[in-house]
């Protein structure tokens, strides 16, 4: 017996209440309002539709995305001590490390849609209890004293020689770095040492969202590119022989 106002609603509700139980009311609403009811949505476009094939298309497009393009490769030289008195250290090159320019990442973050959530001016946050007591609250980098202090310092920071009369608003880009090794596989030793950059201008509740772009990969060191011990020793063997 149909309980809903028409056949289409009936079918949607039956679909929602059957199959995998992970379909939330909000997501079903989203499917109907944002997709099915969109004037651009045409049923005939879906003939022969397959999620697997469309996923492949997305993967192929991602390979060409500007995100990966924005990484460049670099070789880093390190000095390896000889361990012998009087013998100067040898230079070892670690090739092919992936990086993004720090200034480019900052520029991208401030001009991205995420920047609409950015705080350019820090502030003090207070909580007033029912008894009338006021208490300072620290919950984010942009309501901390260090941010306020640095914001004040930046107002007095020098302007570049070519733009001594610049009147643009001066703001702080609050950089928070972290780095840790990441296992790439459950088995084997494939590892990365990424350096991540987070912006303290935006709430940690935004950064906590899994799809948030608040965290940027800045640098990737692949363990395969790290010198094996024999190669490092080789730097000096070549030197002495």
């Amino acid at each position: 017996v149909p309980v809903h106002r028409n056949e289409s609603v009936e079918m949607i509700m039956n679909w929602k209440d059957s199959g995998a139980p992970t379909k939330s009311d909000a997501e079903v609403n989203r499917l109907v309002k944002d997709v099915l009811l969109d004037p651009k949505f045409k049923l005939e476009d879906l003939q022969g539709f397959s999620v697997a094939r469309e996923n492949q298309q997305s993967d192929a497009a991602e390979k060409k995305s500007p995100f990966l393009d924005s990484f460049q490769t670099a070789d880093i030289n390190i000095e390896v001590p000889s361990g012998v008195k009087g013998v100067p250290p040898g230079t070892f090159t670690v090739p092919g490390l992936l990086y993004r320019k720090l200034t480019a990442v900052i520029r991208a973050a401030f001009s991205s849609p995420l920047a609409s959530h950015f705080h350019f001016s820090p502030f003090k946050l207070f909580h007033k209890s029912p008894s009338g007591e006021e208490e300072r609250v620290f919950s984010e980098l942009y309501n901390s004293d260090v941010f306020i202090e640095e914001h004040d310092n930046v107002q007095r920071a020098p302007l570049p020689p070519n733009e001594p009369d610049c009147k643009r608003e001066k703001v702080v880009a609050a950089l928070m770095f972290w780095s840790d090794s990441t296992h790439l596989a459950n088995f084997g030793t494939a590892k990365l040492w990424p350096i991540y950059l987070l912006f303290g201008n935006v709430s940690k509740y935004i950064c906590g969202r899994p799809n948030s772009l608040r965290t940027s990969h800045l640098f990737l060191i692949h363990s395969k590119t790290l010198p094996p011990i024999s190669a490092v020793n080789g730097v000096h063997k070549k030197r002495t022989s």
């Binding site: 070892f92 200034t103 520029r107 401030f110 609409s116 920071a157 608003e169 880009a173 790290l226």
Partner: protein
Amino acid sequence: MTHCRRELMHGVWKFLLDEDFIHAYKYGMVVKCVDGIERRVYPRFFTYSADYPEK
């Protein structure tokens, strides 16, 4: 080996803090923000937490 990895990390940072960054640190960098307004942005370090690749 630990020495090499530490050296590499320092090498990486030396590389990342390039001329453009130092200039931006000193004089700020003009960025057109998403609201269409240009601001002079001064990058500042607030935190750095790292587990160095030692082992």
